[in-house]
């Protein structure tokens, strides 16, 4: 099961966070800082999965941006690792050549995309066009 999805940059600033298990707001910053430290200290040739407390972190780096997913031990790490890439591919399709700034300026849309893919810590949709369908419909209505 997925516990959270984070997008963090190299400086350790959180760009996006989504928790699927309740974590108090006051504890999130510390947790995120800790998680980022875990991933940033790792070299490129090291495993993309890290043990963190009683769960695992799966992370993937895109330029200066890290996407970190916290999963329980029973989860299939490699499938999550690819899910992250699928997510980035969806973003890339939507923003056509996504950049960190796209994510920052469209935080709401990125969240909407993520909500289509993951709910309650489970993967609910991976089909790119279906993930984007509600959002593109919204955009069309807003334009028209």
């Amino acid at each position: 099961m997925i516990k959270f999805v984070l997008m963090v940059n190299r400086q350790g600033q959180t760009r996006l966070s989504r928790y699927y298990q309740p974590v108090e707001l006051s504890r999130r910053a510390a947790l995120e800082a800790d998680v980022v430290r875990c991933c940033l200290t790792r070299k490129k040739d090291q495993c993309s999965f890290v043990e963190y407390k009683d769960f695992k972190l799966v992370y993937r780096q895109y330029a200066a941006l890290y996407i970190v997913v916290g999963v329980t031990d029973t989860e299939n790490e490699l499938s999550i690792y690819e899910l992250v890439h699928n997510f980035v591919e969806v973003l890339d399709k939507y923003f056509s050549r996504v950049s960190e700034l796209d994510i920052m300026f469209n935080l709401d849309r990125v969240h909407i995309i993520l909500d289509e893919m993951i709910q309650n810590g489970h993967i609910v949709e991976t089909n790119k066009s279906r993930i984007l369908a509600p959002l593109t419909a919204l955009d069309k209505m807003a334009d028209g």
Binding site: Q13, T14, P22, L25, R28, A29, E32, K44, D45, Q46, C47, S48, F49, V50, E51, K53, D54, R60, Y62, A63, A64, L65, N76, E77, L78, S79, Y81, E82, H85, N86, V88, E89, L91, D92, R97, V98, S99, E100, L101, D102, M104, F105, L107, D108, H111, I112, D115, E116, Q119, N120, H122, V124, E125, N127, R130, P134, A137, L138, D139, A142
Partner: protein
């Protein structure tokens, strides 16, 4: 597609200067959100962040209360930002709900989003959302229905479910798939939070499972996985449906857009496999239904992509969970081999995880991979080590426990993470402490000093650091003892039995499923046994504090001690108050204080003296008196005198032996010193079990075992070769590297105990032993091959360097002038790759995520300054191939090389590079041009890959310095990146430039068709893939091959009809062969190479080359 992602994301650091960016252009410069984002990106300290966000929150608060709905959406996003940085914006919660209620469609969605981010499921404000949801569910606008269902499936107040349930149910019949799908997900949410609310609609779930739309069906699987987890028996009838679905998915029956990297709906496959493993567990007939589709899944997942491995992992797990079928197990075992032997570290990890799971069902499987496991144990990456220890923990047995615990302790020494430490310490304690003590007790037995069991029990009762640890340890002890007693307790030494009975008496209640009666029965069996000594019986009796009938039987026993215990028991069982005082529940937790002066008896003594009793005499005095009185020594009898228990009733059950010793001190009748010395005497003949480093006998035993285990063929390479060749099916013998001997020994000690039963071989071969050795040899072959590749730094670089990308990471103290010039470079250079070689290999993640980075491992001579004519440059950024090439050393200038490409420059310094194909290596040449009038001092060229640093002292004005790096890459990969940085000292500032280089290159390999044939057969690594054909006028096959030849420098060996063969090589001895056949509209390509990842790399580049054409 994905390369685009990587490319744009690579350029990001430079994008952060916000102006002139498309993203920011959309927002007006006065936009509050724009300001916030700008503020956030410019933050340098936590303090600044706090100031910024507090200011922002104040501003949001002010605006949010003035009813200006056009701003509301932006305000919400800003509030989300503040919260995601950890600052509470609770004042905005109610506004989020309002926005969801009143806003336009997009605003509504943002309102719902903010609600789902801000509130948790029990927040009272959530109730205010119910009406909005109700209204939206009834809306005629599908988008509104859709978003209402989305928010419901994320969070909804449990008590309000009945209010919307009918509406959601109704949506299950909606004509649009997306509405049906979201309705199913909403029902899943209801099932999670209030399962009984949706009980009546289980048949509707079935309908969803059979929905004609795959998306709706997928959504329903979430519910089924959950329900089957809770009650697998209730859904066995659906097995055939799940199998059919999986069969269709695997067979590619789903629409194309469900594919991910041409694998059909991988996550759906994984979900189905999980469901099947739950259904097939411990159920032969259900398992039989799924054998075929599992076999098919294993077979289909041949493509070399992470996601297929993710599916394979799930498949293997399923095969090992359900009722076993031998040929499937065999295939799954082989599959695990591919994982653990993979050079990709993520796959290795997953392989170890699979193996950890699998060895619990079949420990022998660990044997096949023992050498890999040993290697992983020394892996530099902690997570791999940790996973390996987890695996070892599962295969621990009495024979290998010492070695495994040693490894765990080693890891603990280097570990800093608290959580891991706690976990491992627990495991070590479990394994080692109890297991070792079991052995100590069984071996040492009655010859042992009585204080050994005493201190053991004391340790166990006083515990360690945490309550949880203690509980686990005690539980483990209880489990282990119960199983011992269920075996043959008659063979156990008396002292051990005493320990066992004490532990069971104290802690058996910890194991809840263990009935007290069972323990009692086991212990009572001890009482009935002839060989049980009376002392042991008294320990056992202690356990039966409440068992009256037992105490009655023994109350009339002839043995005084037994009688006393039984009497005490009876007494205690009749007097509850006394029992509570004497035997407090958790007394074991506090260390017992023993009053060795026995002052509490003073009153009793004086009373007795007053009544005329003889005063106490110390033992030696008594001895003397006795000796004087009679010439005969009474010594032999001293031992057999029963130990008095007179003071027992005052103490609790803590540890009877301790008490009997203290009563011995009271000098009743036993000569303690005597007893002690006689025990030591007896012990002399026994092997010492404890030494400085721990348990001695155990280790010796293991070492002996190791020698038995590793027969000579494995020790000497030549003999091994002979042994290998004697088996006809053996692969080419490889000499065993010397250091491996140590590992072999370690292996045999680690896997000892597993091997003894290895005659049942999974691979189904009849000769178990040679089979095992053969496999070992194979493992070595590949590992030593890899080592060769790494160590030989002269044979190098399958992937090469062509292109430099430059990003400036400027220090803040650099003058604005430099800043401007650098941003120009950035834009220029981000176009760079596209124009120069048209391949722009900045992408790696999608194909080969984990292999990145090369090692500039050698600096070959000629470094330092090359004296050169001062060449005045008007424009330092433009290519000066001609001028610079004159700086190439003679031995390089004649070789094939890439263009010299400028990397980056500023007014004073220019950087260019090229790569040269040497016969046996790839040389990266970097030119540093000083175009200023002054000398530049202390230039540092710093390549990131290995912190390789080259220092030039100075470059005089208008001159060029050149430097060579020989590149070695450990494995071929699609993408190689070398990042570097140049820093130098000018009179002003320290600008730093960073560079990235990447490119894949290969060279033609000229061979004849016959040579090709022989080579083809000898290569082991292959990949098959379909490529698109190019058809511009010419015959398509020839046209396509010519494009490949041109772009990738391949050699076309021959084209016969619809087939063609091609050869190329990265370096000498790293060839890759390609066989193509036109098949309908596609080109079916089959690649083979002796180098593991090379076919995959090459196919990737072929695809790109054709795409770009």
């Amino acid at each position: 597609m994905s390369d685009v992602v990587e490319k744009t994301l690579t350029a990001l650091p430079s994008l952060l200067s916000l102006d002139s960016q498309p993203g920011s252009a959309k927002l007006s410069s006065t936009s509050k959100l724009g300001n916030l984002i700008r503020g956030i990106t410019e933050l340098t300290s936590k303090h600044e962040e706090e100031k910024l966000i507090q200011r922002e929150l104040a501003s949001i608060k002010e605006q949010v209360s003035s009813p200006n709905t056009s701003m509301m959406k932006e305000l919400m996003v800003r509030a989300i930002y503040c919260e995601s940085l950890g600052y509470e914006a609770s004042f905005s919660y109610i506004h989020a709900i309002k926005l969801a209620q009143q806003g336009t469609v997009l605003e509504k969605r943002v309102g719902y989003l903010a609600v789902s981010l801000f509130l948790n499921e029990s927040h009272e404000l959530l109730l205010l959302l119910v009406n909005t949801v109700l209204k939206d569910l009834q809306s005629t606008n599908l988008i509104e229905v859709c978003m209402a269902l989305t928010v419901v499936s994320q969070m909804f107040p449990k008590d309000m479910i009945p209010a919307i349930l009918p509406l959601v149910e109704e949506k299950l019949n909606h004509p649009k798939e997306i509405i049906r799908r979201k309705a199913v997900l909403a029902l899943y949410k209801f099932y999670l939070i209030a399962p009984n609310q949706v009980q009546h609609i289980h048949n509707k779930f079935r309908k969803a499972l059979c929905d004609k739309d795959p998306g709706v069906m997928t959504a329903s699987l979430h519910i089924y996985l959950q329900m089957i987890q809770e009650n697998p028996e209730g859904y066995k009838d659906l097995t055939a449906s799940f199998v059919t679905i999986l069969k269709q998915v695997v067979g590619g029956k789903l629409p194309m857009d469900f594919n991910y990297h041409s694998v059909p709906a991988p996550w759906l496959q994984i979900q189905l496999l999980r469901i099947l493993s739950l259904l097939g567990k411990n159920d032969q007939s259900t398992s039989e239904i799924m054998y075929e589709v599992l076999d098919e899944s294993l077979r289909r997942a041949e493509m070399n992509h992470n996601i297929t491995y993710a599916i394979l992992y799930e498949c293997v797990k399923c095969i090992y969970t359900i009722h076993p079928k031998s040929d499937l197990l065999e295939k799954a075992a082989k599959c695990i081999g591919n994982f653990v032997l993979s050079p990709k570290i993520n796959l290795k990890y997953l392989g170890l995880k699979a193996l950890t799971y699998v060895v619990q069902q079949d420990p022998k499987l660990a044997l096949q991979h023992q050498m890999t496991i040993i290697e992983c144990l020394d892996h530099p990456d902690l997570i791999i080590k940790r996973e390996t220890l987890e695996l070892l923990f599962r295969i621990t047995n009495a024979q290998n426990v010492t070695v495994i615990v040693e490894k765990m302790l080693e890891f603990l020494h280097s570990n800093t993470d608290d959580y891991t430490t706690i976990d491992l310490v627990g495991k070590v304690a479990e394994l080692w402490f109890i297991e070792t003590m079991n052995t100590v007790f069984s071996v040492g037995g009655d010859m042992m000093q009585p204080d050994i069991p005493n201190s053991f029990l004391k340790l166990l009762s006083e515990g360690f650091d945490t309550v949880e640890e203690d509980r686990k340890l005690r539980l483990f002890a209880v489990d282990s003892y119960v199983s011992l007693l269920q075996g043959e307790p008659g063979k156990l030494p008396q002292r051990f039995l005493q320990v066992i009975s004490w532990v069971l008496g104290e802690y058996s209640h910890l194991r809840e499923e263990l009935e007290p009666a069972t323990v009692m029965r086991l212990l009572a069996k001890l009482l009935d046994m002839k060989q049980t000594s009376s002392e042991t019986k008294s320990w056992v009796l202690l356990v039966f504090q409440s068992a009256q009938e037992v105490s009655e039987t023994y109350g009339s026993s002839m043995d005084t001690v037994l009688r006393q215990r039984a009497q005490e028991l009876q007494h205690l069982s009749q007097d509850c108050e006394l029992r509570a005082r004497v035997l407090p529940q958790d007394a074991g937790l506090e260390p017992l204080e023993v009053d060795s002066s026995l002052s509490f008896l003073d009153g009793f003594v004086s009373e007795a003296l007053a009544a005329g009793a003889a005063p106490y005499k110390p033992p030696h005095q008594r001895q003397e008196e006795l000796a004087q009185a009679k010439a005969l020594s009474l010594e032999p009898y001293g031992l057999s005198l029963p130990i008095s228990m007179s003071s027992c009733s005052i103490a609790d059950r803590q540890s009877p032996t301790l008490l009997s010793m203290s009563s011995g001190l009271s000098g009743d009748s036993t000569d303690l010193s005597h007893k002690g010395s006689s025990t030591t005497l007896k012990l002399d003949g026994v092997k010492r079990v404890w030494g400085r480093e721990g348990y001695l006998a155990q280790r010796e035993a293991v070492e002996e075992a190791a020698q038995v285990e590793v027969p000579s063929p494995l020790r000497s390479p030549s003999q091994q070769a002979e042994a290998d060749s004697s088996h006809s099916q053996t692969p080419t013998p490889t000499p065993t590297p010397e250091p491996d001997q140590e590992k072999q020994q370690l292996a045999s000690s680690l896997f000892f105990g597993l091997s003894s039963q290895s005659s049942v071989c999974l691979m189904g071969k009849s000769e178990p032993t040679p089979q095992r050795f053969r496999r070992k040899a194979k493992g070595q072959a590949s590992s030593s091959g890899a080592a060769e590749q790494i160590s030989n730094s002269l044979v190098s670089a399958p992937s090469a360097v062509d292109n430099f990308l430059c990003n400036n990471l400027l220090d803040s103290n650099i003058t604005s002038q430099v800043g401007i010039s650098s941003s120009e470079q950035t834009s220029e250079l981000s176009q760079g790759p596209a124009t120069t070689n048209g391949t722009c290999d900045t992408e790696a993640e999608s194909t080969d995520g984990d292999i990145k980075g090369s090692n500039p491992s050698l600096i070959i001579g000629d470094n330092g300054l090359v004296a050169a004519d001062p060449t005045p440059h008007k424009d330092p950024g433009s290519p000066k191939d001609f001028c610079l090439s004159s700086h190439l050393p003679a031995e390089l200038s004649e070789l094939c090389r890439s263009e010299i490409t400028p990397l980056c420059s500023n007014q004073s310094l220019g950087l260019s590079a090229c790569h040269v194909h040497k016969e046996d290596s790839l040389v990266l040449v970097v030119f540093i041009t000083n175009s200023s009038d002054a000398a530049i001092r202390q230039i540092l060229l710093d390549l990131d890959s290995e912190q390789l640093q080259v220092i030039y002292h100075d470059v005089t004005s208008h001159s060029v310095a050149m430097h060579q790096f020989s590149l070695t890459v450990k494995r071929p990969s699609v993408h190689v990146e070398v990042v570097g940085m140049v820093s130098y000292q000018l009179p002003v500032g320290t600008p730093q430039e960073s560079l990235t280089l990447c490119r894949f290159s290969c060279r033609p390999l000229t061979v004849s068709t016959e040579e090709y044939g022989t080579m083809w057969l000898s290569f082991s690594h292959d990949t098959k893939q379909n490529l698109t054909l190019i058809s511009d006028g010419e015959e398509p096959l020839t046209a396509t091959l010519n494009v490949l030849k041109e772009k990738l420098q391949l050699h076309i060996v021959e084209i016969i009809g619809m087939e063609g063969i091609i050869a190329c090589q990265l370096l000498r001895d790293q060839p890759c062969l390609m066989h193509c056949r036109v098949h309908a509209d596609v080109l079916a390509v089959w690649l083979r190479s002796p180098v593991p990842d090379l076919p995959d790399c090459l196919i990737y580049h072929c695809q790109r080359a054709l795409q770009e054409h």
